[in-house]
Symmetry: C2
Subunit: 111 residues, 2 copies
């Protein structure tokens, strides 16, 4: 089951734009709403909202620095999110394999 999944984390990571933002933040070692919006097909304001979501999910952490606000990925929390992704994947995978085994057993019996 995917009952143990933290919906806040998952839905934070579920949005394609936010996934790309995490990619970019990881690649560049952090960034601001403005620098990110330059690398994305959305406006700075949209990026700022997403950063808010990621912040509330604990995936990034923003610190004001002069007139800008620099965000960095919280690696531990992202690692948790990755773990949950693979947990759900593994659960489905297991179920698919179980089904496949059963199907093969039935086929064997029928032949």
């Amino acid at each position: 089951m995917s009952a143990t999944v933290d919906d806040r984390l998952w839905s934070a990571v579920g949005d394609p734009t936010r996934r790309r933002m995490l990619d970019l933040l990881l690649a560049d070692g952090g960034g601001t709403a403005t620098t990110l919006s330059g690398q994305l097909p959305v406006t700075r304001q949209a990026v700022a909202k997403h950063l808010g979501v990621l912040d509330r999910a604990g995936l990034v952490h923003g610190t004001p620095s002069g007139r800008e606000r620099r965000y960095e990925v919280d690696e531990a929390q992202l690692a948790r999110a990755v773990a949950q992704l693979s947990a759900v994947g593994a659960a489905w995978d297991a179920r698919l394999h179980r089904i496949k085994r059963i199907a093969e057993a039935i086929r064997q019996r029928r032949d």
Copy 2:
């Protein structure tokens, strides 16, 4: 990068209700909008809409049977979705590890 991800598949699987629906369909070996809505905290109509989304993503396949419409999971397509989940997870994982290695290298050098 998560650029190779099929957004249709991902967003189909991104919704928590749809994930639970896939769980239930796998566990019971199929179901109808009505049977699923009995196991979920949403109405039949909401379930029907989700089944439409899953159907368009190719994750389930519905066949009319008398007055009801039975849906079953397309296992191959779900396997593809699982593969994409783990691909994204693996990408982030790799990046996190790389960052950790670099951080440790810097720490070493500083000591």
